[in-house]
Assembly symmetry: C2
């Protein structure tokens, strides 16, 4: 019964397919072939077909894929028809920015609470949410069926908070703190390490510059 494990490489590409298909759908396009999608997304048609076929046959030979159907199927695979209840831990600039971002709600990610340890922030409203004291976090998670916690706190505090979250039944952690969390294997962690991302960008800039030094024209 165990559906063969899908690689994270494939999963990581699904949201991008979902985005392109959504746009095609909005443009009123009804069908698309793997080759057309390949041209659009700059990945091979082969990879597209392989990726989709991990989840069953969504296409039709000689015709291609129905955009709307495929869009919905990928949404279903990603679990977007379910809603998720989130809390944000750490009401600093980043926490508040995420709380204010409406588009997550559109996909069923509902912010239910935002917590901070700084009393000066208690009661401050971010959209429809009042910042609450950290002490209330544990009972809140349990009582409101929170399944995802967004960690926007300093790295020193992340491990302790993660442990409490796990104890209270969280299922996933969206981790913006700059540490690697250690959690039981039934808890999913998705890291967003912004400074790592920025360093990678810097490397690629430097690299390009030193590579092309002395090679004024090099456009393959």
């Amino acid at each position: 019964m165990d559906n063969k494990e899908i690689s994270q490489a494939v999963i990581g590409r699904l949201p991008r397919y979902f985005r392109y298909l959504g746009e095609l759908k909005d443009e009123g396009i009804e069908r698309i072939s793997s080759q057309e999608l390949s041209d659009l997304m700059k990945v091979t048609a082969s990879q597209i077909r392989q990726d989709f076929n991990n989840f069953g046959g969504f296409g039709q030979q000689g015709y291609g894929y129905k955009v709307e159907y495929l869009y919905e199927e990928i949404g279903r695979i990603l679990g977007l028809e379910k809603t998720h209840n989130l809390i944000i831990i750490g009401a600093g600039n980043l926490g508040q920015a995420l709380a204010n971002y409406m588009n997550f709600e559109r996909r069923g990610f509902l912010f239910k609470g935002i917590f901070d340890k700084n009393p000066a922030l208690y009661g401050k409203k971010i959209r429809n949410l009042e910042i609450k004291p950290m002490e209330e976090m544990e009972s809140f998670v349990k009582q409101n069926e929170i399944d995802i916690a967004v960690l926007t706190i300093p790295k020193g505090e992340a491990a302790g908070v993660a442990e409490k979250l796990v104890q209270n039944g969280i299922r996933g952690i969206w981790n913006f703190a700059h540490v690697d969390l250690t959690v039981p294997k039934n808890i999913q962690v998705e890291n967003v390490h912004l400074s790592d991302s920025l360093m990678k960008l810097a490397y690629n800039i430097n690299q390009y510059e030193s590579e092309s030094a002395g090679t004024p024209e090099r456009n393959p």
Copy 2:
């Protein structure tokens, strides 16, 4: 002369090595073997040695690696001894949050300007930066040797802004807008697609739950 191209998989791991080595250094630890680092970071010792050896021999047989030396070498590889001048385009919640985040400056990423098209924001100060009108962005990039632009604007505006940035000599774009940018190959783009990241998390949560349904105990 062309240093053999290093794969993005390797580059992507460098910031994490850098982080762990920094912590070891701060703890006063002087030497570490690939095996010890392997235990700490949960990657194979083989991978660690392979990764480092992409850039030359940093260790000493029979001894291991000098933490401080290795830390500095990786910093150098990442180009962290150079400074980068950044601007933020889009002074919404996320743009302001990034501008307020001090740790980037510590690594030589200096925020020099922040721009928005909303007149209501002009002149508002984020730390030491005044939000400026978008119209001033192009000349500012040229005059201040800006090499990285942070895009925290709606996706509809991103392509146009990116084009202007490229015309004015930007080297890299840190893209938080939810589109894939098309730029010349001498311009580096690093995407941070937050909603994609969140969808991936949701998939993994759902997946774990459906997999273990009916398998109450399954801790290998």
